[in-house]
């Protein structure tokens, strides 16, 4: 067959092959699982906060039941004590149901190995952290803290624990070295330098807010996610999001806050969806981005806002 003839014959063959493929697909569509029937209602619920509540009703009801379990044998009790930027020392006593803690861990393991998992943890842990959030709210009301003081009080509580490396199977603790070339301690608890390290925290080397509340072990994204979650759970008008990007130490995550009249020196990222500018707040060190402006990084590139809903 000449090349000239081949062109038409191949085109014709392709045409009929595509027609046959369409017909076959229309018969096999169910078996091939091409269509996800739940996606429309899930997306709709995500877009509409009222309906999101309805869709997640069953899941939240289950979490509520866990949270309402006040039996001391079934709860984990913790007391946090820390100093905020106003010089005052705050104490927060709270309980977390053991079931909620186990559920938070199980939920984490089901999430995708990317920053989308942050939103999954945020949505899941709300009920389990109810007592803790109430404790923060009581402090704000009793101490009559203003908007900035309240935000500083929450973030300083997240910064209070010593840094702990959180790693996953792709990068085990034994491979970690700090800036001085030192190995972290083989201890998954917050401790002074050399810092502890938690191995195999799947799927994305981050603990959920509820796990952080119980264990206190966390690195950049765990601490930032915890602070952001508490600020959102408080539902007192704090505008906080997660930020991710690169600094001189590599990939990094920080808390992002949208505040009026921020310090000019602060590092910030614009959310291209809403046009809002979020100011970066480093949660692994005792920095006060909301007032003083304390950029701790010299290199700050490829940063973006990761909206958590």
């Amino acid at each position: 067959m000449t090349r000239e003839k081949k062109y038409f014959n191949v085109s014709q063959l392709l045409f009929w092959a595509l027609i046959v493929l369409l017909i076959v697909l229309s018969f096999l569509k169910s078996d091939l699982g091409l269509f996800n029937e739940n996606e429309l209602s899930r997306r709709h619920a995500e877009a509409d906060s009222l309906n999101k509540i309805a869709l997640q009703e069953q899941e939240e009801q289950e979490e509520e039941e866990n949270a309402q379990d006040n039996d001391p044998e079934n709860t984990i009790k913790r007391t946090w004590k820390w100093e905020s930027f106003d010089g005052k020392t705050y104490t927060l006593e709270f309980t977390v149901p053991k079931k909620a803690y186990e559920s938070a861990r199980a939920n984490r393991l089901k999430l995708p190995p990317n920053p989308n998992c942050w939103a999954g943890m945020f949505r899941h842990d709300k009920a389990g952290l109810k007592d803790m959030v109430e404790g923060y709210r009581d402090i704000i009301e009793e101490q009559k803290l203003n908007y900035r003081q309240a935000m500083q009080m929450v973030v300083s509580s997240a910064q209070n624990f010593d840094y702990t490396y959180i790693t996953w199977s792709r990068e085990p603790c034994r491979n970690i070295r700090d800036a001085n070339g030192e190995k972290p301690a083989q201890d998954c608890r917050p401790k002074p330098y050399p810092y502890g390290c938690c191995d195999n925290v799947e799927p994305f080397a981050v603990y959920s807010p509820l796990e952080y509340a119980v264990n206190g072990a966390g690195d950049c994204d765990t601490k930032s996610l915890f602070a952001m979650s508490i600020l959102k759970y408080l539902n007192m008008g704090f505008d906080a999001e997660m930020l991710m990007g690169e600094v001189e130490a590599g990939h990094h995550a920080m808390l992002g806050i949208c505040v009026p009249n921020p310090p000019q020196r602060n590092l910030s990222v614009r959310d291209m969806r809403t046009g809002k500018r979020y100011y970066a707040w480093e949660c692994t060190q005792r920095t006060n981005a909301a007032e003083l402006g304390a950029p701790v990084w010299q290199i700050f590139k490829n940063w973006e806002v990761v909206p958590i809903r």
Binding site: E4, L25, L34, F35, N36, E39, L40, R43, H44, A54
Partner: protein, 312 residues
């Protein structure tokens, strides 16, 4: 009636070509005709699906579907047949300016003599000139095409392909879309506008095919459910719509094929014959007019007489 007749192919003009060439050309145009009929059918089915969602009536939907299918079939036929040009063929020189043909084959020299011959003789001259022209045909495969007209055709057909792909996918996944809409209905409160007006049928107009009054919501359900597969399905339908155009523009058997050349020769031959006939009858009529000895000044005198009478 051959299938190729449906897109306007006149196989009679290929009489002087070898039988195997004619057979191959008819095979190709039959294949293209069948493709166009299938594309028209897909468009008709897709338009019917859209109409069912909008009008909830099989009668209206089928009417709209048949109409849209016919429009797309004829539009595509128009695009294909007007895309068969002579770019790269030596015939283009004669086809766009027939005077070149008359000059090269001494037809101008016959101007004063054609009236002496019967119409059949003139026809024979035109055919002889055509046969001489056929022997001069040569093809330059690398000749440039008018990219703008190609772009317009491809753009219009691609746009139609994407529109009709959605309708086809809605038909293919109608059951799954209905399940997704059912899930959505369970999530929505009964007082919700979408629940009341989009997902609840009117008592007089029950849903047909898709359980929703909204095309946009149906698209949303389709896109959400298919995810990345939607793109692949769209590309498949797009490819189906593009293949006949590709064949016309890329296949040398079509673009510079025997049919296109014979069609051009046929058109040149017809024009040449009519040119000669026109010359002949111009001469005949001119001679008859001159034989009539008409007085062209008579009417002018009559007017003058009236003027003189009035003034007197």
């Amino acid at each position: 009636m051959r299938l190729s007749d449906q897109i306007g192919i006149d196989s009679d003009i290929m009489q002087k070509l070898p039988a195997d060439v004619v057979k191959r050309q008819i095979f190709i145009y039959n294949g293209i005709s069948l493709m166009l009929l299938v594309i028209g059918l897909i468009s008709a089915v897709s338009a019917t699906v859209y109409s069912l969602i909008l009008f909830h009536s099989w009668l209206v939907a089928l009417g709209v579907g048949i109409f849209i299918g016919a429009v797309v079939f004829n539009l595509y036929r128009l695009f294909l047949m007007t895309g068969l040009d002579l770019k790269g063929s030596t015939l283009e020189h004669y086809h766009i300016k027939h005077e070149n043909h008359y000059r090269e084959h001494n037809l101008y020299a016959l101007d004063g003599k054609v009236y002496q011959h019967a119409d059949e003789v003139l026809k024979g001259w035109a055919v002889t000139a055509k046969d001489k022209l056929r022997s001069k045909i040569s093809i330059n495969p690398a000749a440039p095409r008018n990219l703008f007209t190609i772009f317009v055709r491809v753009f219009v057909m691609a746009l139609l392909a994407v529109i009709f792909a959605n309708g086809l996918e809605i038909l293919m996944f109608s059951q799954q879309i209905n399940m997704a809409l059912s899930d959505l209905k369970q999530v929505l409160p009964p007082e919700d506008w979408t629940y009341k007006y989009i997902l609840t049928p009117d008592p007089d107009e029950p849903f047909i095919l898709i359980n929703a009054n909204s095309l946009l919501l149906t698209f949303d359900a389709l896109a959400s459910g298919l995810g990345k597969w939607k793109l692949w399905m769209d590309i498949m339908v797009l490819a189906i719509y593009m293949i006949p155009l590709m064949v016309i523009y890329r296949s040398m058997e079509v673009r510079h094929g025997a049919y296109v050349q014979e069609l051009a020769l046929h058109e040149i031959n017809k024009t040449t014959y009519h040119y000669l006939i026109t010359q002949k009858y111009c001469h005949v009529i001119d001679t008859e007019i001159k034989a009539m000895k008409l007085q062209f000044s008579k009417y002018g005198n009559h007017t003058n007489n009236i003027a003189e009478t009035t003034s007197a």
